[in-house]
Amino acid sequence: MKILVPVKRVPDPATTIRVLPDGSGIATDNVKWVINPFDEIAIEEALRIKEKQGGEVVLVAVGQQTWQEQLRTGLAMGADRAILVRSEAALDTLAIARLLAKIAEEQKPDIIILGKQAIDDDSNQVGQMLAEMLGWPQATFASKVEFQDRKCTVVREVDGGLETVAFDLPAIVTTDLRLNEPRYASLPGIMKARKKELKEIPADSLGVDLTPKLKIKKLDPPPKRQAGRKVASVEELVQVLHNEAKVI
């Protein structure tokens, strides 16, 4: 099975994010960059599928030259090769989905596994857009993926429960947190990744309209949490909860 896994570079979730004073973006000095955690889960799932039934895992990223590092990490985890669609400008989700659709037409994967969302902008759009563009079935928020011949069954995490869907390949799956626990890149894997193919393609060579439809106007840091307040007695607590907070 040929599996395509799109990968995004995001700030490490453990990093403290500082918004620039003019609200135009985040301060990137000293930020540690990692593979979007949901994409890591997608890579892990792809590797497990490949380990079970053979095939090829191809990573694709749309971004700058620095994104090579995250693709190399994915290769070190065990992916076979990677494609970096080079774009110096930050693109919106629609442009990215269009580029990925082009790559998919060219690579002809049996399945595309994506993270359900990127933890930086939390858009949760690319997988769905891509399914629409390719005209493929989609199963988002997957917590279990199984195959039987050219049929795929996915258990989805939906509000208040689980939903099981079945569909034919080719298809789009987006990963939820509980799908698997990604492996780390082993040291031999890191050494092997050196020699794996990482191909760069300029984004503007793919004949896709990249004009942004979305403009980020301003970023605001979340409001500072107010310090708690001490009350003298249980009576006072009940009073305050009732009269001021109006929760009881």
Binding site: A14, N30, E69, T73, Y184, S186, I190, M191
Partner: protein, 389 residues
């Protein structure tokens, strides 16, 4: 206690690392975060080594990572140093295990073994199937290994070993012990396998330091080994001493990891704990301690990075390594003590990793050549005067 393993990188030294080096660091850090931190306090309390981590460490490629061939990964010395740093950010005992396996035992075979010995032992050791230990120190000879009393006597085509080695990390865990012994003319190294008749081990208990690491005594009573168990290329004390240089190199990096964990803990703690009118981190005396640790960690990082470059270029002298071991371990010990102090009463309980690191670092200060022994090595280097005896 959020992310005590995080970077301390005041000068953006991360930029000087290659993506592969950073990846290696991240892999080991994740391993420590997910698999070591949850169990290490229990092992330290029970005086046990987390043996079940060994196959995982092997699978990730951590043993003999800077050796080439024989199933080893063949990374450079920066990556190797970063592995040691991250392991010791978890626990010095875990780093000791990796040091003894890689830099002492595997390296001894790699540097001084016959082709047959290398093929027989190294791949198994890289895979974690075979654990090694390194027996140099004796009850009466620590800083002065040249005075060792363990003897190897010729007996037909083989050798007979007699003597006692003490303070041997992994001693009772090891399937193969590298035993250094005096022959008629020089000091030689022997590979003694577990179960060889006359060879027994006894663990040392009652340690207040390195409790999550096994430390043993090796007892050799008329142990017969064939000549093929002798490391043919080790001639004299230079053999074991060059292994110590390898291990000291890893310790110099490792100590930064321990210091970093203590610093991160103290920083988080003092930024949230209030006394009198404000958080502790708002007081000048506390800031002075934090700044001192951060400065020393940063300097130690720079020393290690330069040392790694020299080592990769084949230009590191043993004295360079002594400089780094001496400076970085003393720095880490001081950092741990200061951090312990800043945590107040919480600094003495195992809810925080600081006291464990502080106690461990007492060993790190002593083994592989004490702080003062490194001082004498450097003193000899710059003055030309040997102050050892």
């Amino acid at each position: 206690m959020a992310d005590v393993l995080r970077n301390v990188d005041f000068f953006n030294l991360d930029e000087l690392l290659t993506p592969e080096e950073r990846m290696t660091r991240d892999t080991v850090r994740q391993f420590v975060q997910r698999e070591v931190l949850p169990v290490v306090e229990r092992h330290f309390a029970n005086e046990t080594f987390p043996l079940d981590l060994v196959p995982r460490m092997a699978e990730l490629g951590m043993f003999g990572a800077n050796l080439k061939g024989y199933g080893c990964v063949g990374m450079n010395n920066v990556a190797y140093g970063l592995i040691m740093q991250e392991l010791e950010a978890g626990d010095s005992g875990l780093r000791s295990f990796a040091s003894v396996q890689s830099a002492l035992s595997m390296y001894a075979i790699y540097a001084f073994g016959s082709e047959e010995q290398k093929n027989r032992y190294l791949p198994e050791m890289a895979r974690g199937k075979l654990i090694g230990c390194f027996g140099l120190t004796e009850p009466d000879h620590g800083s002065d290994p040249g005075g060792m009393e363990t003897r190897a006597r010729r007996d037909g085509t083989g050798w007979v070993l007699n003597g006692t080695k003490r303070w041997i990390t992994n001693g009772s865990l090891a399937g193969v012990a590298i035993v250094w012994a005096r022959t008629d003319d020089k000091i030689a190294g022997f590979l003694v396998e577990k179960g060889t008749s006359g060879f027994t081990t006894r663990d040392i208990h009652g340690k207040f330091s390195m409790r999550a690491s096994v430390t043993s005594e090796l007892i050799l009573e008329d142990v017969r080994v064939p000549d093929s168990a002798r490391l043919p290329e080790a001639r004299g004390l230079g053999g074991p001493l060059s292994c110590l240089t390898q291990a000291r190199y890893g310790i110099a990096w490792g100590a930064i990891g321990a210091a970093r964990t203590c610093y991160n803990c103290a920083l988080d703690y003092t930024r949230s704990r209030r006394q009198f009118s404000r958080v502790l981190a708002g007081y000048q005396l506390v800031q002075s301690k934090l700044v001192r640790i951060m400065t020393e960690i940063t300097k130690a990082q720079m020393v290690c990075l330069r040392l790694a470059q020299l080592k990769d270029a084949g230009r590191a002298r043993p004295e360079h390594v002594s400089f780094a071991k001496r400076n970085n371990v003393a720095m880490a010990l001081e950092a741990a003590r200061l951090a312990r102090d800043m945590l107040g009463a919480n600094g003495i309980v195992n809810e925080y990793p600081v006291i464990r690191h502080m106690l461990n670092l007492e060993t790190v200060n002593t083994y592989e050549g004490t702080f003062d022994v490194q001082t004498l090595i450097l003193g000899r280097d710059i003055t030309g005067e040997n102050a050892f005896e």
